[in-house]
Symmetry: C2
Subunit: 343 residues, 2 copies
């Protein structure tokens, strides 16, 4: 940033000289301030210059400019982000790794289940069992691992997992598998009055433990898959215990339904990813908003720096094309994927 | 507030005199500021002086004082309020009045249902039908009135209701049936870093329309009873439509369960009322918090200024006594019930 070109003329009288000096210092300060306002530091440094970045910045400028036809009141600036594959890498599924650990811990407390599935597979670090078993196997694993835990015990288990877990492919702590450009977008939106939420198929209680640390998102602003709980008095203290009764998985249309339940407003901006068709429902719901809205869909097309994968039927990318959602090419639109290491 | 007693001595030199005058002005400003800090205006003017008010103020002082053994981090300062009978009068049930209007509007659009219940009763202003029919009649009425409405249409109907509705017994707009002392407590808590929530058996979408205007509570921070919704494309726009599938009524234990689902933290403070045993569950859950917490239960004992009613079995008051929850006597603890009229 250039300093404004103020020339200091010396005058004879010391008092006047001193006053003038003060005025100049003050002037430089004011001018510098104005220059800083006119040319702010790039809020999205990890996004490559181009059409997409310009679209995001123009959208934010439009909805925050008082008097603009697209102005949106701060209380309606709701931004909703998917988590797996949108805020952090989902290969492999981080929560799956946690559940395997939780199963091993449960087996340590109850050795009699060690030969039963899914405990046996967890103890053998048999990742394939979980990865090929599909969602039902994972659901059963969650049930097996969570049923005896109170809310507070569960949170402690999650915190313990994140304290030591490392990503198996990237070999970094999980906090470094988050996407740097997504962090910048979250900060940029919040600086412009947005309330930021997670809406993910992942477990609501699992994500809540790390949402503030990893993303600056308050744990209250996390929406996810949950089990029914029950209130029980245990040794004179009332505890919510997880039952084996799964609420509808927070995916596809259910994301729109739960955004309505938790927030009650249509998102002004949503960001999701292609991979499991999971974010189409909330993108449709956001786009149905009266007035402007912006839908961003990540395409995992960067095998070199992240992982490359797509849907069999390309449903999410096709929906983006049809509806005018903006596609983020990780390869082309993000100059950096992960935060600088502090490992 | 008394001004600090600064004596101004006159001195000979004009400049020194001027400087001294400035110092004195500055000094008075600083001293006044200090006095203002030492003796803040009463944040709870409608609460009578005494043990209860002192308990609330001491609790807030304890949890906000850094270094205090009871200090609670701002992110854990969660305050949850019931609505009917806690934030506004519940005799009669305001949402019931709205539903009757909604049924009349529906009958106007579909005259063929005019002779069917519950439309017939609504058209005849037959309050008794609804009041004696119990919760099942109301649930059927909600279903009948809401099923064809989209989220946005429903909000518009609620706004229309509140624009003209008057309380039948008090003969004031509904905004003046809120409790002034509750408004003061909400403001006081927010000024001390609390996030304030509603958790009520009332309809979540109904309360959300007025929560910010009436209570300063963001609509996202409302928890209530809801119907399952479905996402449908209607004329190219995706809408959430209410189904006739009622989610568990947000009452009793369900309040604790939904506090966990929406907030994920135990409330540091809860306020509810005796009348339907509905708030015992969330009080128990709050009290199970590790560390301090405060439970406030309103006793509707003021027939002269509000309404006097109690539970057959006194379950809520008995639970308060047993568990050390603080009981608010509307008669004795509140010097004012409703806000000054702006009607």
């Amino acid at each position: 940033m250039e300093k404004s070109g103020v020339t200091v003329s010396m005058v004879g009288n010391a008092t006047v000289r001193r006053s003038f000096f003060l005025l100049v210092v003050l002037g430089i300060t004011i001018f510098s301030g104005a220059a800083a306002m006119a040319q702010p530091a790039d809020p999205l440094p990890s996004w490559t210059e181009g059409d997409l970045k310009q679209t995001i910045e123009q959208f934010v400028a439009d909805i925050t400019t008082a008097g603009s036809t697209h102005f949106v009141r701060p209380e309606d600036r709701i931004a909703v982000f998917d988590n797996d594959g949108t805020l952090w890498s989902e290969e492999p599924w981080v929560q799956g790794l946690f559940l395997e650990q939780l199963l091993r811990n449960a087996a340590a407390r109850h050795p009699e289940v060690s030969e039963q599935q899914p405990y046996k597979a967890a103890l053998a670090h048999d990742r394939e069992f979980f990865e090929t078993g599909g969602i039902r196997v994972m659901i059963d694993a969650v049930k097996a691992a969570m049923v005896e835990l109170s809310r507070e015990d569960f949170d402690a288990e999650v915190a313990k997992f994140f304290a030591t877990a490392r990503h198996p492919a990237l070999d970094v702590p999980m906090s470094q598998t988050v996407y740097q450009p997504a962090l910048e977008l979250l900060d940029y939106l919040r600086a412009n009055g947005f309330k930021t939420y997670i809406c993910s198929g992942g477990g609501i209680d699992f994500m809540r433990v790390i949402s503030a640390d990893f993303y600056g998102i308050e744990s209250e602003q996390v929406i996810g898959t949950s089990y029914r709980k029950e209130l029980h008095e245990i040794d004179g203290r009332w505890e919510l215990l997880t039952t084996s009764d799964l609420n509808p998985i927070n995916n596809k249309d259910e994301k729109a339904i739960n955004i309505d339940l938790h927030i009650g407003k249509r998102p002004l901006l949503v960001m999701g990813n292609a991979g499991g068709r999971g974010d189409i429902g909330m993108m449709n719901y956001s786009q149905g908003r009266k007035g402007v809205s912006l839908q961003l869909l990540i395409d995992h097309d960067d095998a070199a720096r992240e992982f490359a994968y797509a849907e069999d039927d390309n449903a999410s990318l096709n929906a983006a094309k049809k509806n005018g959602w903006r596609v983020i090419s990780m390869k082309d639109d993000w100059s950096v994927i992960y935060p600088a290491s502090d490992d």
